[in-house]
């Protein structure tokens, strides 16, 4: 492993100054992804720029809408009572990330910024229609999360930009959501994960958002399934159809973890079970 420099800037301004100075540098927050990649030689940076203790990235506020600083650790998210009440589906998904040791340092900005198709918070954030605020220097832009991921390990960020905040509009009180994940054992990356958010009036679906992870090059919304269900009566037949369409909407690969077929199967089953649980 090649040696590298390590910087602990105290503000975002410092962050960009360093980045400008050292082109072959990488941002590191919790380190649970970056440190593994550096150790394996996948990443060979001249320097790591730590985002761990930058105050501008640490705020979590729940007011008119939700602002989560990208530097918030997964544990901080889970322990935040306001988030527990306003976006329980995000908390549910966050609890399934790795181990406690990982959650204590990993950040939500990192979970997104690592751009893994398996990112555990992504399906929940997608159904919450989260927006990602990215900045580099004075440039700031807001990107819907579904436009953020461009491919496995890739996002629409420039090399300078970092995710600073995630904004979520608080779902209304009639909205319920659930997420599901399967690993080979309880401590695992997702073989497949699903999140479903629905606003219902009895069995009538007024609004639905469905997302899946680990079943395509990026975490994605299952738009076709949403179209089927939105503004319609949810019957057992509809649910079966939703299951089938979900399976057709994804393009998983077979890899060392499982087969494409199994991932498809899981997506279908989880969509079905999620809808059933939200209806009841």
């Amino acid at each position: 492993m090649k040696k590298f420099e390590f910087y602990k800037p105290k503000s975002l301004t410092e962050v960009w100054e360093l980045k400008e100075m050292i082109p072959n540098s990488r941002y590191i927050a919790g380190g649970t992804d970056v440190m593994v990649k550096v150790k394996s030689g996948l990443l060979v940076p001249d320097a790591l720029i730590s985002l761990r203790d930058i105050p501008e990235l640490k705020n979590i506020t729940v007011g008119e809408n939700i602002h989560i600083g990208a530097g918030s650790t997964i544990s901080e998210l889970i322990d935040n009572e306001q988030l527990q009440t306003s976006v329980p589906v995000l908390i549910q998904a966050a609890k399934r990330i790795g181990s406690l040791q990982i959650r204590n340092v990993a950040t939500i900005g990192g979970n997104i910024g690592n751009c893994s198709p398996c990112a555990d918070t992504a399906p929940a954030l997608l159904v919450l229609e989260a927006r990602v605020v990215v900045r580099s220097g004075k440039n700031i832009r807001e990107i819907p999360l579904q436009n953020f991921f461009t491919g496995p390990g890739a996002s629409c960020l420039t090399s300078q930009e970092i995710v600073v905040e995630i904004i979520i509009d608080i779902p209304n009180t009639k909205t319920k959501a659930i997420s599901m994940k399967k690993g080979r054992v309880q401590l695992d990356l997702a073989l497949a994960s699903v999140a479903v958010l629905m606003e219902t009036d009895g069995n009538f679906c007024k609004k639905v958002r469905i997302a899946a992870g680990s079943v395509a090059p990026v975490p994605l919304r299952l738009i076709e399934v949403e179209k089927l269900l939105e503004n319609s009566e949810i019957t057992e037949e509809k649910i079966k159809e939703a299951q089938q369409i979900a399976m057709k909407s994804v393009s998983p690969i077979s890899d060392v973890r499982t087969t494409a077929d199994y991932r498809c199967q899981l997506v279908g089953v989880y969509v079905k079970k999620s809808i059933q649980s939200l209806i009841n």
Partner: protein, 800 residues
């Protein structure tokens, strides 16, 4: 049996204290003055010619003290078939072949040096399965044998077979016959502490090596045999065993990295440490052998087994280690689990360009048990007999000799199976309609009184007493987490008659400890206990002999002091001198007394006091004892598959209740039960720990673990993708029960049971799955994907 003070009680093990404090020193934690760090460069091909190795850049790197290849060192072979080379020349035969190694002043520099070594290969077609290996014109993995003679095929030249009775007659006598083909996967032992060694020569060129081994004396033999390759004649090797971070069979052979550390230590004149990181542990350390088993069994109309035919094929990998001898232990369940009159067993093992395999807990027993115990359920089904009843009909009985010549002394298999059935509420649980829930069971038959697979199955012990009543134990068995130190400490305390706090266990060191063949075959406690009783007896006799003359004056002294404190005391009439001369003493909790003497406190002489009296006088002496125990078992004739290889046999049964999610294929373990005939419970706490741990490994074997390869390359060399059970996977009730049959061969009646706990787990769970959803997966691990595929297949068949 007389009352036991320590054996059978829950007493915390003596090595826990240092381990929980972080004070125990594993190979990772050790260093020697001036030590260098060794690192190995491994092959990047499964099968290729080595065209050229360029080490010049590595040699020039500052801090690098030596770079070795097969081209600048003499040829050095190892392995029990001598088909492996410490460094590879001309050809690599597997991805993890060692092509070069460096020693440098830091780990970082060693890693950098490895990167600077350039190797040019010419890839060759590879063989990645026994099927490919046995084809007519298959490329040869080894063209020449170790003697230099041309080899004609890829078969590994080992023979394990058994034939008893009349198979054809057995087939004719069968009313029902079932065949099945089963497979097991490569498994990584996954010790939490990885492999490693530190080698160091003194100025007489005698070698000391600290290494993660289970066979210090066989390793010593191997390394002594290796030194002449370095030009060293008649030199000695001292093997010292540090605290082991688990072993599970990884320490039963000697490995290239050990020889390389020795080579580098010799070249540099400095200690050299090589420790595998986790990636190397997965990719470059030999895993557990995979297997393919074809089994056919038949029974008559009453459900009695009439014959059993088993054929095993194994993928040996590129070189030979103990994985190739798994069939020697497969013979145990194959010939002796349940009573079968006509048996045929044969194993074929092939070289391939996959990773070569070594021992792991169970050593072939779980592999065959998987096929056998599943087949038993299938046969029971066709015969229309409940699987539990079917097993009881064919149950082993005590005091019988099996077709392999195994003399089964005590055997409570019937009790074990009965208890499993009761605990599972068998009849009711087998008929849980519409719930996708089911129960299943499986039994085991394994060695419990050592296992003679070498000429010697022996072990020695030295006991030394000092001036203070402390006893020091030198024994060659290794503590690898199984609790051997507990047995040693409590066993010596019990057998000698001192308090456990006065027993000190010396580090395993071939310089100071007597010989032991190795800590394997569940023999640790059995051997340690038996040799302890022998040695302690000897020491007691020596002590009592000395006490004949010295006890009276010490008792007198005691009496005087007692009378001073109690002036009104009147001593009973008792001729101490006369009684002492008879030598009828006992030693209990560190106090010596004459048996049948009045129970007066002044007639108790503290051991240290006596020992000082023995030592500090003219013509004084100090006491020690040594014993060697070689159990009453036989080295089997492997050509015949016959011989009583153990002094007693461990039997038991496990049961599982499962629930299957037929949409996701997930198998949820609702509960497990395990009932084992252990002879005698030496320490309930450590025994339970062994059983829980084995069960967890059995669970991983059944549902989660698998080394995945593609053309010889291991695809999942890390914990991210090789999944062992976590604390959440073990979140179900486990009901353990131990049956004590008090076997006369065992110390205090105990049998060795270190491996039993994982032998029947896979079929117990698989049989439960069949009861739950009516499908069988015959290839381990039983993953959700395979469950779904089996369900789909069943549905297809039903609709046709």
């Amino acid at each position: 049996m007389s009352k036991l003070n320590y054996i059978g009680k829950t007493i915390p093990r003596p090595d826990s204290g240092d381990k929980v404090a972080g004070k125990a020193l594993y190979i990772q934690d050790l260093s020697r003055p001036g030590m260098l760090y060794g690192k190995i460069k491994f092959s990047e091909h499964a099968h290729a010619k080595i065209l050229h190795i360029d080490i010049t850049k590595a040699q020039k790197l500052p801090g690098v003290m030596a770079v070795v290849t097969a081209y600048n060192t003499p040829e050095m072979r190892f392995g029990f078939l001598r088909d492996n080379f410490i460094l590879k020349k001309d050809k690599v035969r597997q991805f993890r072949d060692e092509v070069a190694a460096v020693a440098a002043i830091s780990q970082e520099i060693a890693e950098e040096a490895i990167r600077l070594i350039d190797v040019e290969y010419e890839p060759l077609p590879g063989i990645f399965s026994p099927l490919e290996a046995c084809q007519e014109n298959a490329i040869l993995i080894h063209e020449l044998d170790p003697q230099g003679k041309p080899v004609k095929d890829n078969k590994v030249p080992v023979l394990f077979q058994h034939s008893s009775g009349d198979i054809e007659a057995g087939k004719k006598a069968a009313k029902h016959i079932v065949s099945g083909s089963f497979s097991t996967q490569w498994i990584q032992q996954s010790c939490m502490g990885t492999a490693g060694a530190i080698a160091e020569f003194d100025m007489n060129n005698n070698l000391t090596i600290w290494t993660k081994t289970q066979v210090p004396f066989l390793a010593q033999r191997d390394f002594i045999g290796f030194l002449p390759c370095l030009g060293l004649k008649d030199k000695n090797v001292r093997v010292i065993v540090p605290t082991l971070g688990g072993a599970f069979g990884t320490g039963l052979d000697t490995h290239a990295y050990e020889y390389i550390s020795i080579l580098l230590a010799y070249k540099t004149g400095k200690p050299v440490k090589i420790v595998y990181d986790r990636n190397e542990e997965f990719a470059c350390l030999s895993p557990r052998q995979s297997s393919q088993t074809k089994i056919t069994q038949g029974c008559d109309e009453n459900g009695m087994l009439t014959f059993r035919e088993i054929h095993v094929i194994q993928d040996n990998g590129a070189y030979t280690s103990w994985g190739a001898t798994f069939p020697s232990v497969m013979l145990l369940p194959a010939t002796s689990l349940y009573r079968v009159p006509n048996i045929k067993f044969h194993a074929d093992i092939y070289y391939t360009n996959n990773t070569y395999c070594q021992a792991m807990r169970g050593y072939g027993n779980p592999e065959v048990n998987w096929a056998l115990e599943t087949n038993m359920d299938e046969l029971a089904e066709i015969a229309g007999i409940d699987p539990y009843e079917f097993r009881m009909i064919n149950c082993n009985k005590s005091n019988e000799t099996t077709p392999m010549g195994l003399k089964v002394t005590t055997c409570a298999l019937d009790k074990c199976m009965e208890s499993v059935a009761t605990k599972l509420d068998w009849k009711h649980s087998r008929n849980q309609q519409g719930k996708y829930r089911g129960v299943g069971m499986a039994s085991l038959f394994h060695v419990g009184g050592g296992g003679r697979i070498y000429k010697s199955d022996g072990t020695g012990m030295f006991l030394k007493l000092d001036d203070f009543g402390n006893v020091y134990v030198s024994h060659g068995g290794v503590e690898m987490g199984q609790g051997l130190h507990s047995v040693l400490k409590l066993g010596v305390a019990e057998a000698l008659g001192v308090k456990p706090e006065k027993v000190f266990i010396n580090q395993v060191d071939t310089n100071t400890c007597p010989w032991d063949v190795g800590t394997h075959a569940s023999r640790g406690s059995f051997m340690a206990g038996n040799v302890t009783i022998k040695a302690a007896n000897d020491l007691r006799n020596k002590l009592f002999e000395q006490a004949k003359n010295l006890f009276p004056s010490l008792a007198d002294k005691n009496l005087k002091a007692f009378c001073k404190k109690n002036p009104s005391y009147e001593a009973p009439k008792f001729d101490v001198r006369e009684a002492a001369l008879k030598g009828n003493f006992d030693l209990v909790e560190g106090y010596l007394f004459i048996k049948d003497a009045p129970k007066e406190p002044w007639l108790l002489v503290e051991l240290g006091t006596l020992l000082r009296a023995i030592h500090f006088r003219e013509q004084g002496t100090m006491l020690s004892a040594h014993a060697f125990y070689d159990p009453p078992n036989e080295l089997p004739d492997w050509n015949k598959g016959y011989g009583n290889m153990s002094a007693s046999y461990a039997v038991g049964a496990q049961g599982a209740e499962v629930e299957v999610d037929t949409e996701t294929g997930e198998v949820k373990i609702l509960r497990m039960v395990a009932v084992h005939d252990v002879g005698k419970v030496l320490n309930p706490q450590t025994l339970k720990g062994q059983m829980y741990g084995a069960l967890a490994q059995g669970l991983g074997y059944t549902l989660y673990e698998q080394i995945l390869t593609k053309e010889g390359k291991i695809l999942n060399p890390d914990f991210r993708d090789y999944k062992i059970p976590t604390v959440k996977e073990m979140d179900f009730p486990i009901d353990l029960e131990f049956v004590e049959t008090n076997d006369s061969a065992g110390p205090w009646g105990a049998k060795g049971v270190g491996e039993s706990g994982l032998c029947p787990t896979a079929p117990a769970i698989s049989n439960a799955i069949y009861n739950a959803i009516g499908v069988r997966v015959r290839d381990l691990p039983i993953t959700p994907e395979k469950i779904l595929a089996a369900l789909q297949e069943k549905q297809k068949q039903q609709s046709e």
